[in-house]
Symmetry: C2
Subunit: 347 residues, 2 copies
DNA sequence: CTGTTAGCGCATTCAA
DNA sequence: TTGAATGCGCTAACAG
């Protein structure tokens, strides 16, 4: 492959001039520019990114740490990030953390060792103190889905509390009063926030919160199934259930059917995340949208702006979930719904 | 960050010696090695991959081109590749081709420009001739999901014909004789192979192939829905349908229900790919497994062996699909199934 | 506007 | 077994 040296020789100019037209830095006369461009073209010259990186001390790579790639939310996040970065000529490399503190740490070290210019992190196990301790390290980073005190300008978060509120409020508006809840794992911030939102919606509607109707799940399908099995065995009547993510909602649906419930008439179900799967379920799952691809893209824009000094208008850090109405939730027992808030529930 | 120069100074040896202990190339006395190691440790030294790459003309990156990341099969493929590569200390960067020849080409150029040491390609639009023309180019590549004459040792393929055969054979074994087929897009090799397998199973069972019962889909949910609408409007009775991928099967299910069919009693459905979604559908989708993560990992091993000269025992190029039995296909009209082949259909 | 020069951090001859 | 010298391809002062 041709090098800058060969181009300069062919164009009859110096290395520096070739470099200048490549990066259009500094003034170059149109005539020499044309000569250089022609030489590049004839030689089919491609700049060597590696050499550029070494000379500028910039790898033009940004590292992304996700728990896993094959989960629907993280795949969407990755896609959002890659699209934004690639348009700017930057590269995305990723590593997986598998919700394990050691692996997350190793992944971060791996990415830093690779001389990433910046990191976009979706961590689940490492704690805030670790993040704070890295704050002044050489590699800048941003965080998706966690708000860390003292690092707020680097955090990109969803208002999970509001999302939890929306889900339950939606059921309340349809006339449900006995609403079960399947939460995410204990100790996960997003899970707890969603749960808090649920309770607020209940309280606002004057419904007494019944702890027995709450089950702690694992964010996986199996957890949703187990949850419904447990809830149903309680003999406490309920007409609806909100699941803290769509996968658990899918599991809950399967379990409900194995208990001979007819969906959605016997039981209304609302999920959270709005992953592609939600549309495929039967009935189609009403859920809360988690705009994770947008959030990934926004994190990428932060990097572009703050690390690569690109001119980016504005960067949003806080995202609002919205309710996506489909067919998995209806009025209880066929009663007509209280529709007072319909149409502006997301407002 | 400390450089090799600082390490050498601290250890009181030359640059070359430090380099030798890093790569353990060449002989170094235990005593000096210990000194160097100690110095590295004290300085918390990490080699600069960029500089190494420039010096060795190896980026230690392998590029992966996928149609998209957020689709379930490609996410799984990426995950399989990344795990294998990372264990070997190599990096994965990816680009998306979106089933568009221009974008695929641009993605490949992007990856090559990034000085990837090798490419793993899942292309859908570029043709064999293009691939052949790249054969002797500087960047070695392998191909997933396509067999190219003259490039066979670089191709990793699934026996799609056999998969199509398995799906239909499974229905035949259960007693179905009127079996519709929803294929992938015309011109896609995997789609056509799967279709050929379907016809072979029919022929083997002495069932006359009826072209009217075949619909050309698009591998998306909508295509599956449209397919079933069209098929049902024909007034030609059929008791089962095989869909050339799971997403179309999901669409078909939805459409069947909107026509008031009870699943699986009124209509048996079999899919293809075995994506995570298949388990969530109701009834749970019986399908043909496409071991795409394994195939990705195997492609990565080929790269490790042939590009990085790692000692890898063997590399398989051909993968066999297997049938995954769930609950979406049953004997027609409740008739008891012909189970003669049960238990060894995959054999 | 253009050319010269000196590194970026490391691997790798070649001598010693 | 070790060290000195050279170059990977490019950018970035500094001169001119």
């Amino acid at each position: 492959m041709a090098t800058i040296y060969e181009v300069s020789k062919r164009a009859g100019v110096s290395l520096a001039t070739v470099s200048r037209v490549m990066n259009d830095s500094g003034r170059v006369s149109d005539k020499t520019r044309a000569k250089v461009l022609a030489a590049m073209d004839e030689l089919n010259y491609r700049p060597n990114f590696i050499a550029q990186s070494l000379a500028t001390n910039r790898s033009n790579c940004v590292g992304v740490l996700v728990p896993e790639v094959s989960g629907p939310v993280f795949a969407a996040m990755l896609e959002g990030i890659e699209a934004e970065l690639r348009e700017a000529g930057k590269f995305t490399i990723f590593a997986t953390g598998h919700t394990d503190p050691d692996k997350e740490l190793e992944g971060i070290r791996f990415l830093i060792g690779r001389r990433c210019d910046a990191l976009i992190l979706h961590i689940e196990s490492l704690d805030d103190d670790f993040l704070l301790s890295q704050k002044n390290d050489s590699t800048p980073f941003v965080i998706i889905n966690r708000e860390v005190e003292g690092l707020k300008d680097r955090c990109f978060t969803l208002d999970n509390e509001h999302g939890g509120y929306l889900a339950t409020r939606y059921l309340v508006d349809q006339g449900h009063r006995d609403i079960a809840y399947v939460s995410g794992p204990t100790g996960w911030r997003d899970a707890e926030d969603r749960f808090v939102g649920h309770k607020r919606a209940l309280e606002e509607a004057g419904i007494r919160f019944d702890e027995r109707l709450c089950y702690t799940g694992d964010y996986h399908e199996e957890g949703g199934s187990r949850a419904l099995d447990a809830l149903l065995s309680l003999d406490i009547p309920f007409t609806a259930v909100v699941c803290a993510n769509d996968e658990m909602a899918a599991g809950a649906m399967a379990s409900a059917r194995s208990h001979d419930l007819v969906l959605p008439d016997d039981l209304s179900i609302v999920g959270f995340d709005n992953v592609p799967l939600a549309r495929y379920l039967h009935p189609k799952l009403s859920t809360v949208n988690y705009p994770v691809a947008d959030m990934g893209a926004m994190a990428a824009r932060w990097v572009l702006k703050n690390v690569y000094n690109r001119r980016i208008d504005s960067v949003d850090h806080h995202f609002k979930p919205t309710l996506v109405e489909r067919t998995s939730a209806v009025a209880p027992f066929g009663r007509s719904a209280d529709v007072r808030a319909r149409g502006d529930i997301n407002g």
